[in-house]
Symmetry: C2
Subunit: 420 residues, 2 copies
């Protein structure tokens, strides 16, 4: 096996961990020849720089890599531009690519994969979803024979950290601040808490598992920021917890897909996922439910996925390629819903709410009201029998206009108690 020359684009948390994992593993057939990063001198003084071979060329000029004779480019910078054009150049000049770039693969992966095939090189991205958890290789190779009809999971560690802390009693704003202090959440947490990060990953998983190409912009998202401690208390009464769930399901020619905080019954493995853990459940026609879980983020777990991809390419990897179809997305799942109201309590409120639900055709399954709250700001909960998200949206719009509502009603989809 001839030694392959490797270039690393990005020497941040993951990139520097890749250097460490490579140096520690002493893998045959791999030579780190180039590292591209801005401000190379600063990077050279970071702790993991000691794992970089003395012969490696550090550069701030991407053309030093693209015009070199490296065989494989590892891209760990992220974002769409200029990364896509750099990787297109690499592929066109016969270099294989390993990347953990979820946005790039979600939005432009189909075209890049076609280009790689045309140039007879590999484009491999096992680290783009769930970091150290081998969901992508597991699906691509281990479940290729099945027909996966549904994929659900917890793929954003920041949201899972926040929600599992809230389950233990904390309030959203406090946990978000803690997550920011720990480096789990960005100063602007929108990509995580509003579901855009998870949405990109869901689209990648849909391509691989459902063989469905989705436009990420068509997949509805709901922020976790409206979830409050009181919702966990009510969820507990219902035998559930709350997690940010990314779900996609093949239904005829369309794909139902959504990223949202949802009520998860304690009987489902997804309810057991705590902290920054990731979990993906793939449901197959023949194989039933398969669960993958582990550390989805962090430098070293993600570096493991990157190095595993690299070794696959070095050892002559070739993915199973099955036909992928473009699919229209609908955010409309038929499922029970949880509605939480905060009202200024007056006679007739329950009747008005029941009326609004009746008007859109939704049936009430249960009504919960915990004692000990101020009548002037009374939180209470209604759960419904299965109905469409769009039906509930209509009901929420009607109810949001009622005088007694002190805040917009919170509507959360509830997962079914039983696995299929």
């Amino acid at each position: 096996m001839a030694t392959k020359k490797i270039a690393l684009l990005g020497f941040g948390t993951v990139g520097s961990s890749v250097a460490k994992v490579l140096a520690t593993g002493k893998f045959a057939g791999v030579e780190l020849t180039h590292i591209y990063n801005r401000d190379v001198e600063r990077k050279k003084s970071t702790p993991n720089a000691k794992f970089v071979p003395k012969t490696t060329v550090w550069t701030e000029n991407i053309n030093d890599v693209l015009s070199s004779d490296v065989d494989i480019v590892i891209e760990l910078i992220g974002g769409l531009d200029p990364i896509e054009s750099w990787l297109r150049k690499a592929i066109t000049s016969g270099k294989s690519v390993v990347t953990a770039n979820k946005q790039l693969i979600a939005y432009r992966g189909a075209g890049l994969l076609r280009l790689a095939k045309k140039h007879n090189v590999q484009l491999i991205h096992g680290a783009a979803v769930a970091g150290g958890v081998p969901v992508i290789p597991g699906l691509l190779q281990g479940q290729a024979g099945d027909q996966i009809t549904r994929i659900r999971g917890i793929v954003n560690g920041t949201c899972n950290f926040i929600l599992s802390k809230m389950e233990a009693g904390a309030e959203y704003a406090d946990v978000l601040a803690e997550a920011q202090a720990l480096g789990y959440a960005e100063a602007n947490p929108s990509a995580d808490v509003d579901g855009f990060d998870a949405r990109a990953k869901l689209c990648i998983l849909s391509r691989i598992a459902l063989r469905a190409e989705l436009d990420p912009e068509q997949v509805p998202t709901q922020s976790i920021s409206a979830v409050q401690a009181i919702d966990f208390a009510y969820a507990k009464e219902l035998g559930c917890t709350i997690r940010q769930i990314s779900a996609a399901e093949l239904v005829g020619a369309t794909v139902q897909a959504r990223v949202a905080p949802m009520l998860v019954p304690n009987t489902l493995p997804m309810a057991w996922s705590h902290g920054t853990q990731n979990m993906v459940v793939a449901s197959g026609r023949f194989g039933g439910d398969v669960v993958f879980s582990g550390h989805g983020a962090g430098g070293e777990p993600t570096a493991v996925a990157v190095v595993s991809d690299l070794l696959a390419v070095v050892h002559g990897h070739s993915s199973v390629e099955l036909p992928i179809k473009k699919r229209v997305v609908t955010g409309d799942f038929l499922s029970p819903h949880y509605l939480r109201f905060v009202v200024n309590d007056k006679p007739g409120i329950v009747s008005a709410i029941a009326g609004a639900l009746a008007k859109v055709g939704a049936n009430i399954d249960s009504l919960l009201q915990r004692p000990g709250h101020d009548k002037n700001a009374l939180p209470f909960v209604v759960t419904t029998e299965p109905c469409l998200n769009s039906t509930m949206d209509k009901a929420v719009r009607i109810m949001g206009k009622m005088d007694c509502m002190l805040e917009k009603p919170l509507c959360l989809q509830m997962l079914e108690r039983e696995e299929r």
Copy 2:
């Protein structure tokens, strides 16, 4: 991609499901040309025979397959002989092999893999462990970059069915009879309940995950048949349940390995595994714990693994090959232990038991005695601080000779409460 000709050896539960999964998936590049089985006429009248193409040759003569021009042989018969010699002939004549034969791969896999490499064909066995759960592809491809130091799991669905029913209150003999009636357990259940099936799978996982070649005969096993309903009651008091655990850990140049019923704290994912579910936890130096779970057995889940392997070979699969070392096995884990006694209660028994433990150097951690038992056949439990299994074996030998013991003390290893 040229169409590959496929032969299926064995048209039983898994083999016939492979025919069904292949026919339903309509995969390009695959043609089922031969089926070998005894009593072909009977097999042709089984329900899944309708999924077999009309052009497929059915034969009772293995040489019809071995002398044919098939490209890939799928072996689903099981056992060591004559299967090994058949597969050696297939490999030598340039055929790739897909197999779910755990005994063959555990005992003779190393030699067969070398032979396949020499003849430049594939030998792939993702279905040999945990059926439909892609543990083997996940480890081989997704975690190749990590250094896995420990592998633990629930890999025998029959034992998990029995023990999770006992957790719910049933007695061993009754559940075993139920498992036999349901077809989950053989008339002679020894391979399952005594741990030999799980041991073969543990050796395969050790080769792949720990890169350690073990002699299965060196791996100690303990039967689940001595576990009683009372042990689940005491385990519950200790915040645990009981599962058949297959565990292997790299410690210096040796591998600690054992298959036994163990106390599993409810905080660990393995405690959540119910029914015939399988679960494997791989602990890596860089990636931490990764959990795989799902349906480990049954015709269709196992057929998914077989067809996925087949597609990998058809699409030009090439495994990451990392160096594998022969390793000496020790069954000696340093861990807390659970000891359950049934005694004819007399003064001085606790003192005598404590004396026996002190003699071997084991410290008592807790002593539990549930009320409501007959003093003439009193079950009670002692747990110890961490000590070696061999130390406990000595203590059990000493205590087994005491006059008051009505049955042999049961000693179970306890897993630590915390994941690393």
